[in-house]
């Protein structure tokens, strides 16, 4: 049996790049979709609010694992059974991220005091102007810390992409473990790589939050 060595670490590091790529796709795609969800959640239209609310409920009430299975098999049904695993994994993570980011950002938008809306309205600004010129810039400041915090969740959750056959960091670890059967060494190395990626982001998020709280006092 081959034992866990430098070659394996190199394999893990390359897989870690795929983890990062998948995270980037999930974050950017989920961000765009999530932003639309957040806007829909605070819109004037009752229908839009209801639909977006239901979307969030469904995404947040279903395990990511099941979401990934559904997309994987769903894509196969509509005839895309030759697609690279990255597509199915990416689509699943985009939907997952959009549900959570949408809800986080809705909270941030709503935490801007109502008086700001009224003040902007009294200046005869349109709804669009009020949103883009007054509310969103303030919401953005509040949103940064939880958004960075959620990015950590995304990175960790890309580990589930392995179920649709995508070889990222966790799956690479599992493959190595299957041949070496040195689970402690392999998975602790994997965990360390995740930690190195995630910890700075967590610390940054916490720092942002602290600064925001100080600013508010």
């Amino acid at each position: 049996m081959p034992s866990f060595g430098l070659g394996h670490v190199e394999f893990l590091l390359i897989a870690a790049l795929w983890t990062l790529a998948l995270s980037a796709i999930a974050f950017l795609g989920g961000g765009v979709l999530g932003f639309l969800i957040a806007l829909a959640r605070v819109s004037d239209s009752k229908l839009l609010r209801g639909l977006a609310g239901a979307y969030v409920q469904i995404v947040q009430g279903t395990p990511l694992l099941i979401l990934l299975f559904l997309i994987y098999f769903g894509l196969a049904i509509v005839g895309f059974d030759q697609l690279p695993a990255l597509i199915a994994a990416g689509a699943g993570l985009v939907i997952y991220s959009s549900g959570f980011l949408g809800e986080i950002w809705r909270g941030c938008i709503e935490s801007v005091p109502k008086t700001q809306w009224e003040a902007a309205e009294c200046l005869a600004m349109t709804r669009w102007q009020r949103m883009t010129r007054v509310i969103l810039p303030q919401a953005l400041r509040i949103a940064t810390a939880p958004t960075v915090g959620f990015l950590v969740q995304i990175i960790k959750n890309t580990s589930l992409a392995s179920v649709v056959g995508f070889v990222e960091l966790s799956q690479a670890g599992k493959l190595i473990n299957n041949s070496t059967f040195e689970p402690f060494r392999v998975f602790i190395t994997v965990a360390i790589i995740y930690f190195i990626i995630c910890y700075p982001l967590s610390a940054w998020s916490r720092g942002l939050e602290r600064r925001l709280n100080v600013g508010r006092r």
């Binding site: 299975f69 098999f73 392995s162 689970p183 402690f184 998975f187 995740y194 910890y199």
Partner: protein, 227 residues
């Protein structure tokens, strides 16, 4: 192309689905209770323990929160196996989930403890309550009350995340689904059913927590303040 949905071939499996739901509920309930107790103790240790303990708990929380649950599950399951101990996959699953959720509970409870004003502790101290009595009667309940919504969200997430333990073939709803879909070749339908079951579970769990909160936090109930 048109796809013929066929949910009827899943009907014979309803008992297995129900069994899966029951297993997932058990798995989540045990992990939630143990995770809450452990997390609360960790939060107290982190706020009030000796410096070395504070550092250990702090490091533990950071490590768990910055690595994926799946990797933690692998370390627990394969790690225990390689040490020559035969362990049931479900026991390993509970162990990994508890280790994981303790860290998150600790972080939430820490915020709760911090929200209880120092003057409250001082008042209890002046009435002659011991440190343990002060925590029990004066600090913990308002702290839990304050962070209860965050705890509930965390434990709903835990219930959903328990699906990941299917990766070490622990017996729960997702594992049941994996088996049924390979029996029936009705993968998409199977996961739709399971997705709906999880959705229902998350509503039920939320409702149960809400009812429990109403029962426990008498002040909220009497004054009608929302939980």
């Amino acid at each position: 192309m048109t796809y013929q949905f066929d949910f009827s071939s899943l009907l014979p499996y309803w008992q297995e689905f129900a069994q899966g739901v029951w297993l997932t509920l058990q798995l989540s309930a045990i992990s939630t209770v143990l995770g809450f107790v452990g997390g609360a103790l960790c939060a107290i240790a982190r706020a009030d323990g000796p410096p070395w303990l504070q550092r250990i708990v702090g490091a533990y929380v950071e490590v768990i929160r910055n690595t994926p649950l799946l990797v933690q599950i692998f370390i627990v399951y394969f790690g225990i196996a390689v040490m020559g101990i035969r362990i049931d996959a479900n026991v390993a699953a509970v162990l990994a989930l508890v280790v994981n959720v303790i860290a998150y509970t600790c972080e939430i409870m820490r915020a709760g403890l911090e929200s209880v004003h120092k003057a409250q502790v001082e008042a209890a101290d002046c009435l002659g309550l011991s440190k343990a009595q002060t925590y029990w009667h004066v600090v913990l309940r308002p702290a839990i009350e304050r962070v209860y919504p965050a705890l509930v969200s965390q434990y709903v997430l835990l219930m959903l995340a328990s699906s990941i333990t299917s990766q070490i073939s622990a017996e729960e709803l997702t594992a049941v689904a994996n088996r049924i879909q390979s029996d029936t070749f009705r993968s998409f339908e199977t996961y739709i059913v399971v997705g709906l079951l999880y959705l229902a579970l998350s509503f039920v769990v939320r409702a149960a927590f809400w009812a429990f909160g109403m029962l426990v936090f008498t002040r909220r109930r009497k004054l009608g303040t929302p939980l």
